[in-house]
């Protein structure tokens, strides 16, 4: 084994490595999807897996998402751990019936006898200049489906760690990969990846005392940038990375909001009916008397994802986040 120094890796590379290591460690792990084999996926995230583990372990399927997830269900019934790739967010929709009616419910239906340890990898979100159907933020659909875990990494280390955990989980996990962070880099030791917090725990990415930005996935870097910019305005913003939408880490989130008394939820998904409503509502239920202002949301507009030339207007950016922070009724404070 060659010694690999700690050097920058992209999120895509960390994801590849997570699958590789999972496949090496557990012969029941199978990767499947459109173009995942010979090509290594349209984002090259499964690059090299078919070569290393053979076509039976990393399989180019026919072009049919319900069929992919449906056959994965059968494979899981027989003791395998399928890792399914959906090529893009919007192309997971044909598989919804399998996901909702079977993947999320088989364990419950059989009172624990037939768990389905399936990981459904979904590259999601915008900001990559993708044409229609290639930039959807579909997390609200998954969140509203009991029985699924909904996980999304925002850092290179989490990409590796959370994907390993997802594959090892006995529950089905919808693993949302922020497309525009695929090429984000971080120093990371592929040979000795450090452990990350378990699925279900939120992590404070930047401590702060004036208000808490609550976010996940593709919006984490934007929030960190906003927090940096906020210093000029005299705000010391805390940034919280949810990491998993289900299970939801009420404890960490509420502790943070109780500390700062103010919160803004930031995500790309449409605001109306998006994850932010749930998050804001549960914070308010739990921390009402600690709140100096209503929990605000900065989200995508309530519109179909726009064409590439207009997407910058849609995506929550630093200014829009700071505008929301400014609306947190600071005058009222004291």
């Amino acid at each position: 084994m060659t010694t690999v120094a700690v050097k920058p890796a992209t999120m895509a590379q960390a994801l590849t490595r997570a699958m590789r290591d999972a496949m090496a460690a557990d012969p029941t792990v199978h990767v499947m999807g459109e173009d995942v084999g010979t090509l290594g996926g349209v984002f090259r995230v499964t690059d090299g897996l078919a070569k290393e583990f053979g076509e039976d372990r990393c399989t180019d399927t026919p072009l049919a998402e319900a069929g992919i997830l449906g056959t994965a269900v059968g494979m899981a019934m027989y003791g395998l751990r399928p890792v399914v790739e959906m090529q893009f967010d919007a192309f997971a929709y044909p598989a919804f019936e399998q996901l909702i009616s079977h993947v999320s419910r088989m364990r419950n239906r059989t009172r624990g006898r037939m768990p389905l340890p399936i990981t459904v990898r979904v590259p999601y979100g915008g900001g990559i200049g993708g044409v229609e159907h290639h930039s959807d933020s579909s997390e609200a659909y998954y969140m509203a489906t009991p029985g699924l875990h909904v996980v999304t990494p925002a850092t290179v280390a989490d990409a590796y760690g959370l994907l390993r955990q997802a594959i090892a989980s006995d529950d089905p996990v919808v693993f949302l990969e922020p497309k525009r962070l695929y090429w984000s880099k971080d120093t990371w030791n592929a040979e000795q990846p450090t452990d990350v917090e378990p699925i279900g725990r939120a992590v404070v990415r930047r401590p702060g005392s004036s208000a808490t930005l609550i976010t996940y996935g593709p919006s984490l870097p934007v929030c960190l940038e906003a927090a940096e910019a906020a210093r000029a305005e005299g705000w010391d913003l805390e940034v919280l990375d949810l990491r998993s939408l289900v299970p939801f880490d009420d404890e960490t989130v509420c502790a943070a909001v109780r500390r700062t008394g103010r919160a803004v939820v930031v995500h790309e998904s449409t605001g109306f009916g998006g994850p932010g409503g749930e998050i804001a509502a549960r914070i308010t239920e739990r921390c009402f008397h600690h709140l100096e202002a209503p929990v605000l949301r900065v989200a995508g507009f309530d519109i179909p994802y726009p064409p590439p030339m207009l997407e910058r207007h849609h995506l929550p950016g630093v200014d829009r986040i700071l505008d929301a922070v400014a609306r947190l009724q600071w005058e009222a404070e004291g």
């Binding site: 199978h30 053979g54 076509e55 039976d56 399989t59 399927t61 026919p62 049919a64 319900a66 069929g67 997830l69 449906g70 056959t71 994965a72 269900v73 059968g74 494979m75 899981a76 019934m77 027989y78 003791g79 395998l80 399928p82 044909p94 019936e97 399998q98 009616s101 079977h102 419910r105 088989m106 364990r107 419950n108 239906r109 059989t110 009172r111 624990g112 006898r113 037939m114 768990p115 009991p146 029985g147 875990h149 989980s169 006995d170 529950d171 279900g200 289900v246 299970p247 939801f248 009420d250 404890e251």
Partner: protein, 388 residues
């Protein structure tokens, strides 16, 4: 060579090197459904098999009648009877080995019971108790699938996984004529053929999808003809001829087990009862049609053959009926008892490890039940009963 490298290879090249494609002729079903009973070849059928099928079909019919009666007594929420289709249900299930898997559709309780599942457990879902009831691994029977055709890709995946592991397990997937219109049917057939998965698809063409007759469901020469488009053989069989069904299914199972890939079988049959007890079949079909099919009853067909060959005397008929009555009595008796349900189960199997949120909700319900108990002096949530 890996399992997946053995795939078929339709890969057209430019002329003059057009690749010869697979000849479709062997994939096409016969013009008429395959029959044994009432034909000359019936004489060659194994007497033991005939007797076994007869006894099982009589039991199966009795089960259908009893379960329908239980709906009237409010003991079952709903029952989709397979009266008239017992030959398909039972002969198909009997064509499997113990190590094989069955993927039933919602109407296939009889096939489930024929696999060895407890007759009462097989009704768990329909009586309003827990969704799947039986443990799928005990008899290798997937939960009865309500969303039509969704179980077909499961069967393909399981068969494929077994093959990858080197186990010679075959999966039998059942679906109705209506279910063949769903996208999941198409995708499952295609995956099965491309992967050469050891799976057998049995379409019970009983003429109707609830009220919709076959002519509004398909314009195909037959449902078995769909096989050609996937590159697998299609077979057409008289679904009321238990011996023919058993033979065709057994052949397909052997073929799959030997690595020959999937088969699509259309069994032509008829749903004698209404769609379920809640349905009114007179709204969409006439008595004459039903009468014609009653005259082609799967049990009578068997009885005639057995009698003609001197394999069935009155005592044997009585024994079969008696056995069926015993089963029915036990079913009645056991279904009369309220099942014991624990509301706490609602939270305990959603995830491997119950989430904090579900623990909160569990505690809320427990508190409510305790309050209820205090008010009424009952044990909290210890048992629930009575279907609606």
């Amino acid at each position: 060579m890996t399992v997946l490298e053995q795939r078929g290879a339709y890969r057209p090249s430019p002329p003059p090197a057009w690749q010869p494609r697979m000849d479709p002729a062997p994939l096409l079903p016969d013009a008429e459904p395959y029959r044994v009973l009432g034909t000359e070849s019936a004489g060659k059928a194994d007497p033991g098999l005939l007797r076994r099928l007869y006894a099982e079909l009589v039991r199966g019919r009795r089960y259908n009648v009893q379960a329908t009666a239980l709906t009237k007594q409010g003991r079952l929420a709903v029952y989709p009877s397979s009266t008239g289709q017992e030959a398909c249900e039972i002969a198909a299930a009997l064509a499997l080995e113990e190590r094989d898997w069955l993927f039933p559709s919602y109407r296939d309780t009889l096939a489930v019971v024929a696999r060895g599942v407890d007759p009462v457990e097989a009704l768990t879902l329909l009586r309003g108790d827990w969704h799947s009831g039986y443990d799928p691994y005990t008899h290798r029977v997937a939960p009865l699938s309500t969303p039509l055709a969704t179980q077909l890709p499961h069967a393909v995946g399981l068969a494929h996984a077994a093959r990858l592991k080197g186990d010679d397990v075959v999966a039998l997937a059942m679906v109705g004529d209506g279910g063949t219109s769903e996208g999941d049917f198409h995708e499952a057939m295609n995956f099965a053929a491309v992967w050469q998965a050891p799976v057998v698809f049995l379409v019970q063409n009983n003429g109707f999808a609830i009220s919709v007759p076959l002519a509004k469901q398909t314009a195909a020469p037959s449902l078995a003809h769909k096989a050609v488009g996937y590159g697998m053989p299609g077979r057409l069989v008289d679904g009321n001829d238990a011996v023919a069904v058993h033979e065709v299914l057994s052949e397909a199972v052997r073929h799959a087990r030997a690595g020959g890939g999937p088969t699509l079988i259309e069994a032509v049959t008829y749903r004698i009862d209404a769609h379920t007890n809640a349905d009114d079949a007179t709204r969409y079909r006439g008595d004459a049609e039903v009468a014609a099919w009653r005259a082609h009853d799967p049990i009578e067909l068997l009885e005639r053959e057995l009698t003609a060959r001197g394999l069935l005397d009155e005592a044997a008929v009585d024994a079969a009926r008696q056995d069926a009555e015993t089963m029915a009595a036990s079913l009645r008796e056991r279904m009369n008892r309220d099942p014991e349900l624990n509301p706490m189960d609602l939270f305990d199997h959603v995830y491997a490890e119950t989430t904090a949120q579900l623990r909160e909700q569990r505690a809320l319900l427990r508190a409510e039940l305790e309050a209820e108990q205090e008010q009424h002096g009952e044990e909290p949530g210890a048992r629930e009963g009575g279907a609606r």
